[in-house]
């Protein structure tokens, strides 16, 4: 699948089939994640694959943004101590979030390319998730990626036109483009 096709075809899915995802596909998604870029190549991410039904249900219950039921979720955490050690306060306070976000983008694109649906969830209770998954100090839950076979194909939401978000050379200068959407 062409990369532009994947980027434009991916949707945030909120209705899923209960079908189990094979370990092979999960491996591919995690491999895509670890190949994401990171500031100073710190690779601060830690991934918790949640496949245990009972645990997954508990995480879902403390995550108001977890809409729909999936057979799998992957919690992407940042190793804030490692970020600080290598990247200083810039790493700990900013790059940890952007690095994990880039890993997450790779994950959802990979999932889509593999025929899976996904949704990135930030609306979860950090305190409750840390308790349930026994996450130690220094490891910070950043984003929850819920994954499953999609039960519907969401309509693409509108995009802000390029002319409204792109500037040429200086802020405010119109960027010439033929793309309206």
């Amino acid at each position: 699948m062409d990369v532009f096709e994947v980027i434009k075809g991916r949707r945030s899915v909120r209705k899923y089939k209960p079908d189990v995802i094979s370990n092979d596909l999960v491996d591919k998604i995690l491999d895509a994640a670890r190949w994401a870029p990171s500031g100073s190549n710190i690779q601060p991410w830690k991934f918790i694959v949640i496949s245990d039904k009972n645990l997954l249900e508990l995480v879902r219950k403390v995550s108001p943004g977890y809409l729909g039921e999936t057979p799998l979720a992957i919690l992407v955490c940042s190793d804030r101590e490692r970020e600080y050690r290598v990247g200083g306060s810039l790493g700990r306070d900013y790059l940890s979030i952007s690095d994990c976000s880039m890993a997450v983008e790779n994950m959802v694109l990979a999932a889509y390319a593999l025929g899976l649906g996904s949704c990135i969830v930030k609306s979860f209770s950090r305190i409750a998730v840390k308790e349930m998954l026994e996450i130690p100090e220094g490891i910070e839950p950043e984003l929850l990626v819920i994954i499953g076979y999609p039960a519907h194909k969401p309509t693409p939401p509108a995009r802000i036109p390029i002319r409204e978000i792109v500037h040429l050379n200086k802020y405010g200068n119109k960027f010439p483009t033929s793309m309206e959407r």
């Binding site: 945030s12 403390v62 108001p64 039921e69 609306s123 209770s125 939401p157």
Partner: protein
């Protein structure tokens, strides 16, 4: 993935949803407040399915269907989301009149 829940299980689940939503609403976009309330309304409509002593409420099920159909508008069409809430409240008002004011 769906297990048989008791009324107490389901009540507890809604309570957890409300507590974690309250925590989320401290920092989330303001419109997520009404979104979570609608989601809670949708969950409440299923309460009689799990609790003995409560009878199914077709009106609440109808509202649930509308809520589940419209709640995601918050992500991409805020005006339509607000309109949907108004329509839901209007339906409740009409239902209240029917339930409590109808002359015999």
């Amino acid at each position: 993935m769906t297990e048989q829940k008791t009324g107490n299980d389901y009540l507890f689940e809604i309570a957890v949803f409300l507590a974690t939503s309250a925590q989320g609403c401290l920092n989330e976009p303001p419109l997520y407040g009404p979104f979570r309330l609608l989601d809670a309304l949708s969950k409440l409509a299923d309460f009689p399915d799990h609790a003995t002593g409560l009878s199914p409420d077709p009106f609440l099920k109808e509202i649930k269907a509308i809520v589940d159909d419209k709640k995601f508008l918050v992500m991409y069409d805020v005006d339509a989301f607000k309109k949907a809430i108004e329509e839901i409240v209007e339906k409740f008002a009409k239902e209240m009149k029917k339930r409590y004011l109808q002359t015999k």
